[in-house]
Symmetry: D2
């Protein structure tokens, strides 16, 4: 694992470990596909905590991160008692949106077993859209995370990466 020194680094890579519980599996003997989104959440939460501050505190300051989109590609399956490594990073951001990208690894396999992303917008407590907190924007710039000037560019960029996938 790489040494992290600055909070900016975590925007480019943060990882958590998740032990697969019986509760996470289904009758096929593998992790039920929706549960990977919960593993993504665990990783995203730690990433935000390291990069900036606890998401709980961010919410208390009047910023909510609402999920707009979620995507998962399942390449291999995870099984009961597997110790998974979930890696996440900030993919890109705009004034109002932020995208997190994830890869999940199983011990002994080089390639990720699951890949995905979630895209979020910022709102206030009443659900009204807000601009991203400027403090976080500065951190992401420092971390050299791609910033798109408007959401349409971001969407175009998204399509291009989908094409390359």
């Amino acid at each position: 694992m790489t040494e992290h020194k600055n909070s900016e680094d975590y925007a480019n890579l943060q990882q958590v470990q998740v032990r697969v519980r019986y509760a996470d599996t289904d009758r096929m003997g593998i992790v039920y596909h929706a549960n990977y989104l919960l593993f993504f959440e665990s990783c995203r939460t730690e990433l935000i905590r390291r990069v900036w501050k606890p998401y709980l505190q961010i919410e208390q300051e009047g910023y909510l991160l609402v999920v707009l989109e979620a995507h998962c590609r399942y390449r291999q399956s995870a099984r009961y008692d597997d110790l998974l490594t979930v890696q996440g990073r900030v993919g890109f951001f705009t004034e109002t949106r932020i995208r997190f990208e994830y890869q999940i690894f199983r011990e002994g396999l080089k390639a990720p077993i699951v890949e995905g992303y979630t895209e979020h917008c910022w709102t206030d407590a009443s659900g009204k859209p807000r601009r991203m907190p400027s403090e976080l924007k500065d951190i992401l710039k420092q971390a050299e995370i791609t910033r798109h000037t408007d959401d349409r560019t971001a969407n175009r960029r998204k399509r291009i990466s989908a094409d390359q996938a």
Copy 2:
């Protein structure tokens, strides 16, 4: 199924049907044990709706039903795609508490496969204990649901039923 005529009847018996999803199962091929509590919730919600009014509305009027205790006894297992019948009723109530009792049935089996109860207290939105809404109390009395004068009696009664179980 018995004909219900008055809202009071539902306090003595309400049932809902639940189709077991892949998501509900675990690698043993059966419903993961914690998920029966979610089936109990579906039944409790409909019971409250029929007996009195939607729980959502009750909350909006400043009453929360907080879970104090939950119990499940697993006799047989339910499997993927089973169509389960969840029966619930109000077991007893005091000024501040209410207990719901549940039985889950699988097609073709006479005896319940799962039995359990949940016990709740009433609080206001801030979590401070409240007395049960008097309107509901009247309905439960009409339904001839056992009312305990104090919580200690309720607890003693509980132990007795545990002994008989």
Copy 3:
């Protein structure tokens, strides 16, 4: 709702209703984003049952439908006790894959609150890829569901629909 006469029709549209439970919500007061994938599952299961036969039976005959990809776009949120309508249809299929597309509606809103798809491949019980059962293929052809001759075409098509979205 349109009248369905033949099993083929269900491949083009099947719907189920889902009541949002407390268990489905999160502290934002809305349905936790991963849970919509479980609502998709309920719809997919009924679609397969109507179009062909119970998925349980399909599994017993040695065919598993493994999830390869899942996507969700969240436009509006669903709340506790909402009665949601989940509509699903077969988007397209190839010799080895099948894609289901979903829309979730909330009472009183014309536009779907959530849209998504899941893509699956067929395997045998050991996880080895299999061709789609020919009986189902015939049904989907009858239903005039788009059939792609190879998976690459399917992928290209997918990108085009993403562009139009």
Copy 4:
């Protein structure tokens, strides 16, 4: 935290930490009550691993631990991002059953916020009851865990502890 030296000690106390996810909460802002059973599972799994061997391996050797009963008493609530400590131990065992007891602690609070137990029997892969593996029995005896000679005694004991609760 006490120093553990022998595997037997873990039968008397094992603990794991669980970070509360958004996914674990409900619209009341607290952990949904059924989810504590999943926290119990995480603890039980680690307890069995430390006391004896991975449960996965036990299953591969033809022993399943089937849940017969689950109980939870909710004293305080846990909230999003809380770091909980789940403590578990073997309560007692008979030839065919085993009971695990749990307490969940929240930082800053001395008393457990949740207490509960799960009771299990041993079966073979087909679901037929089996006697407890003798190797585990020896470990539990070493650990001075109470052993009941028959299940009726165990039940009586259970009622007594319920009375004292």
